[in-house]
């Protein structure tokens, strides 16, 4: 397929084009449509006879019949190498700040830039030796990318074992510079540079084995870590109607999660939200590394007004970058917001292809695509025995806030944790608005299981009493039931809810969660002797006040212990045993 293969544009319908070609085309290969000076990127998505159907990653205004189409023979790929961290890319891995330098306020179609700075030099330190046999994905040497050792690995595309034939000495090279040569069994030589390209829709699987995710990933969001935790290498989803706080929750997690690398895929959502991340992160300090948060973050940003087809590729671009860092033995977290927009992009294209629609006009392969996307997460053991992980958290924006719709249902089948947001809770300003009773997780928490069970029982019982009270009223409820109701509300108010605007309360570290939850457990286990319902309510209102102040006092500071003692004092008055 070396000869230049071309085709002729024969039809345009929205972002889909039909092209007549001469010899051969490959499914999913990238093609460029030449329109005057512009070359518009597109991808072959169906072939019928000598007609190929292409999805165009750009606005199609002005395209004309008979325009020339060049097929490249390459699948849609991303460039992997040092310099990804801190970058802001669009769905096709164009660096947005550099685009802005070239074209100003507006995006210009048909303009594609190198994802990585080819001129920048990186200090390379070799680790492999000449004659050493290595597998694809094994380490050749490293360079420092901010706070990380960025490993340069044998190209993932190689098969079987190869021998290191040549390797560069310690020195400064750019990413296009040859740093090694690898020889396969047949004596073929493969040149290696510090960057490599990889097709986004193919998972990188250069590891020894996939392991079961067991270690909790601390998000510092109490309700998640305690009641419905996420594991390193696991998957979770956040469905919720609009306005219930999906994006805010993702933003909080992107700031506070205890992982090495965070990849944010803003997929078909508001540009304004990405801007907040973009402008804030360089100034926020990661408490773990004492460096700016942006140094551990990659942003893939294909917001809702950007071309729809690139939205579909953006989640794949994001997950491929996450997998790349996993290969280095790092823990990467991919936050996709929102997977529904990605699914809608598929639906739009499927409609243009006139495929027979499934439920709500989504294509029949929706479930399959969602499953294979989430399956790219995982904890893996690498060939050198170390481990790395990709954790995927996706928001879902169900139509009408109804979880019965196809995207939510397909997602629930494959994820390990479900953080369902409820309109009821967000209306009552109970943030994060994760429903504590409906949500679940298949992963284990770092909090003692018995204590969790107790809390869950109290919450459930409290909810039942609350529902009952709606029918029989407060006067028809016994004092003991009423106390349980108040206990449940209390747990909700002081532990499950968290004030994102309070510097201290916004993020709770593991130790503190254990400590405070244990104290809370003590209160749950206690019996109280209230003389009537009003005094019970007064007691919990007072206790809540102090407890919330305890939450916003710095961990292990004087104020912290002072508030803790106050909590104990208040409890003493009423506790019976």
């Amino acid at each position: 397929m070396n000869a230049e293969r071309i085709g002729i544009l024969t039809g345009i319908n929205g972002n889909m084009a039909t092209v007549e070609f001469k010899d051969h085309v490959m499914q999913n290969e990238v093609a460029f449509i030449a329109h005057n000076e512009e070359r518009l990127k597109s991808e072959v998505i169906r072939v019928r006879g000598n007609v190929a159907e292409l999805q165009i990653y750009e606005d199609t205004k002005g395209l004309k019949l008979g325009e020339r189409v060049e097929f490249t023979g390459e699948l849609l790929s991303v460039e992997l190498g040092p310099g990804l961290l801190g970058q802001i890319f669009d769905g096709l891995q164009n660096p947005l700040p550099q685009l802005a330098e070239k074209t100003g306020f507006f995006l210009k179609r048909g303009l594609y830039l190198e994802a990585l700075d080819a001129k920048k030099e990186w200090e390379f330190t070799p680790a492999a030796k000449i004659g050493q046999k290595i597998k694809p994905g094994e380490k050749l040497g490293f360079t420092a990318e901010g706070i990380f050792e960025h490993w340069i690995m044998a190209p993932f595309i190689l098969k079987g074992q190869v021998e290191v034939a040549k390797i560069a000495g310690k020195g400064r090279y750019n990413i296009k510079h040859l740093i090694a040569e690898l020889k396969d069994e047949n004596g073929n030589i493969y040149p290696v540079t510090m960057s490599q390209s990889w097709p986004v829709k193919v998972p990188i699987a250069c590891f020894a084995e996939k392991l079961r995710p067991v270690k909790p990933l601390t998000t510092k969001i109490r309700i998640i870590d305690t009641l419905m935790p996420v594991a390193l290498g696991g998957t979770y989803c956040i469905p919720g109607p609009f306005g219930s706080g999906k994006t805010v929750l993702q933003q909080l997690i992107s700031k506070h999660a205890e992982v090495d690398i965070v990849i944010i895929a803003a997929c078909g959502e508001r540009a304004g939200e990405v801007v907040e991340t973009l402008r804030e992160f360089p100034h926020l300090v990661d408490p773990r590394t004492k460096k700016s948060l942006i140094e551990r973050t990659v942003i893939i940003c294909n917001t809702s007004s950007m071309p729809v087809s690139a939205r579909e590729s953006s989640v794949y671009t994001a997950v491929t970058i996450a997998e790349y860092y996993r290969q280095m033995g790092l823990n990467a977290l991919l936050l996709a917001d929102s997977t529904s927009r990605w699914a809608q992009a598929m639906r739009e294209m499927s409609g243009r292809l006139e495929e027979i629609p499934g439920e709500e006009a989504f294509p029949a392969y929706l479930e399959n695509r969602i499953a294979s996307f989430y399956e790219r997460a995982g904890l893996v053991r690498l060939h050198d025995g170390s481990s790395g992980s990709v954790t995927i958290g996706g928001t879902v924006s169900p139509a009408g806030g109804n979880f019965e719709e196809p995207v939510t249902q397909a997602t629930l089948k494959v994820v390990g944790a479900f953080h369902g947001l409820s309109r009821e809770r967000s209306d009552a300003r109970r943030y994060p608005a994760i429903d504590p009773l409906e949500s679940w997780s298949k992963y284990a928490s770092f909090i003692d299981e018995k204590e969790i069970k107790k809390a869950q029982a109290v919450l459930r019982r409290s909810y039942e009493v609350k529902q009952m009270m709606k029918v029989v009223g407060e006067e028809g409820t016994s004092l003991s039931d009423f106390a349980i109701y108040l206990k449940g509300e209390f747990i909700d108010d002081v532990y499950l809810q968290q004030n994102a605007f309070d510097e201290v309360d916004a993020a709770t570290i593991e130790e503190r969660q254990k400590y405070v939850f244990h104290a809370l457990h003590g209160i749950m286990e206690s019996g109280f002797n209230f003389k009537d319902k009003d005094s019970a309510r007064k007691f919990f209102q007072g206790l809540r006040q102090v407890f919330i102040e305890w939450n916003s006092s710095e961990w292990q500071s004087d104020g912290f212990y002072k508030k803790e003692n106050q909590v104990k004092e208040i409890c003493k008055k009423y506790i019976t045993a």
Binding site: L99, S304, A399
Partner: protein, 431 residues
């Protein structure tokens, strides 16, 4: 290269099909029929068959009519002369002024590079406590008013337009009743705001397709002014009519509908317009306030539902006031920390208590015994409705906050409402 064609091979709905060559996608054409001249836009090319969406509708078009392709997409004139002018959905004068044809700019232009956006930081004060205190409006925000037909949404829109501190107001009317169009015109005229306003109004009696162009025309003009450093407020009413026009076209084009007949790309279509709201790094800004009427008061209807996912919050208009639940300004955090330090405390706590009040109301209506606490809540809730929610209340933010403390103090003890001691000692009104 303006060729003339006269082979119309299909007329279906407002879409006609012509055999023609060398036509650009999205280009405009003029159709000369017995009924006069109408604009049309290419919406699909399939070999020699070119599908055109006729702005004035296909009624009266004959298969022998002449079609002239203009070789460019829809454009709008952008000059200072636009100020105070009224246009229809095709960009033609609705007043008796001259047609504007200089400095034509394309509509529906490319998206703003997210890297060139800045975090919005300026609050737009409206004098309405339910907005200023509880859901502050922010420059460059896109916010719809969700409402059932019959609520005074256009009145609210007009009031915000007149009171908001912006340089230019652009009204995009879609399927507007003629009375409402006159209402906007007269209200702004009386207030003296008409000279800084531009109208693109499609009224209910105009051809459907023209409705589709209104947001793009309004926003293209807004964008040009914003680039010149102006702060522009775009009012779009009613976006549900826009969506219904989209539905009509997509069904004519035999697209598979996704939900209640609406096209699968409804979200993207809406997003492309709403995302024009922007605060430019070194220039002006566009703020969008839109009305979305909810058929049957159903927020899960595809139009309000998709809108809610795009916009930065929403106001619910119900029983002639802005409903505290569900109403949300997502950008309020960017500004309400800089107003007065008790702003957020008042905002959060008053709403939580109001939520408790609503629960109590429910209990009361079922005839349950009212505890001491319930009685307090009832009294509080009524005061809140009267002094905060009523749309006739017109006071600046600071006064509204003081009012909030007063309402709290009149109804509760400080220890009952879970506000941090430091705020209580500073703001709690002394008896």
């Amino acid at each position: 290269m303006q060729k003339i064609y006269n082979r119309i091979i299909q007329i279906a709905g407002n879409v006609i099909t012509v055999e023609a060559g060398d036509i650009g996608y999205s280009d405009l054409a003029e159709i000369y029929s017995g009924a006069g001249k109408s604009l049309a836009q290419v919406i699909r090319i399939d070999g020699e068959r070119v599908y055109l969406q006729v702005f004035a509708g296909s009624r009266g078009i004959s298969t022998g009519d002449k079609i002239r392709f203009l070789g460019h997409p829809m454009r709008v004139s952008f000059t200072e002369n636009l100020m105070g002018r009224l246009f229809n959905g095709a960009g033609l004068p609705r007043d008796n002024g001259p047609k504007l044809e200089e400095n034509m700019v394309e509509i529906g232009g490319p998206s703003v590079n997210p890297a060139k956006r800045i975090i919005p930081r300026k609050m737009i004060r409206t004098g309405i406590p339910m907005i200023d205190v509880f859901n502050s409006l922010v420059e460059s925000q896109k916010l719809p008013i969700f409402s059932v037909p019959g609520e005074p949404y256009n009145e609210l829109l007009a009031r915000i337009a007149m009171q908001a501190e912006v340089d230019i107001i652009i009204l995009g009317g879609m399927g507007l009743k003629y009375d409402d169009y006159l209402f906007f015109r007269d209200t702004l005229e009386k207030n003296g705001s008409l000279s800084r306003a531009i109208f693109f109004v499609h009224t209910a009696q105009d051809p459907t397709v023209e409705c589709l162009l209104v947001p793009d025309l309004s926003l293209a003009v807004a964008e040009q002014f914003a680039l010149q450093g102006k702060r522009v407020l775009v009012l779009l009413t009613d976006m549900t009519n826009f969506c219904d026009a989209l539905k009509e076209i997509s069904i004519t084009m035999e697209q598979i509908p996704s939900n209640r007949g609406y096209p699968g790309d409804l979200y993207s279509q809406l997003a492309r317009r709403y995302e024009k709201a922007v605060d430019f790094d070194t220039a002006g800004s566009i703020t969008i306030l839109a009305v979305t009427t909810m058929p049957g008061d159903d927020v899960t209807h595809p139009v309000p539902d998709n809108t809610g996912y795009i916009t930065e919050g929403q106001f619910y208009l119900r029983n002639k006031s802005i409903e505290p639940f569900g109403s949300l300004s997502r950008l309020k955090q960017l500004v309400n920390g800089k107003t007065r330090k008790d702003h957020r405390v008042i905002m959060d706590r008053m709403i939580q208590l109001f939520s408790d009040y609503r629960e109590t109301l429910e209990k009361q209506s079922m005839g349950f015994h009212m505890s001491e606490w319930d009685k307090k809540l009832l009294k509080y809730g009524r005061a809140f409705e009267e002094k905060m929610m009523d749309l006739s209340v017109d006071i600046p933010l600071e006064k509204a906050l003081n009012m909030g403390w007063r309402i709290l103090a009149e109804n509760f003890e400080p220890s009952e409402i879970g506000i941090k001691t430091e705020f209580i000692s500073e703001f709690w009104p002394k008896r």
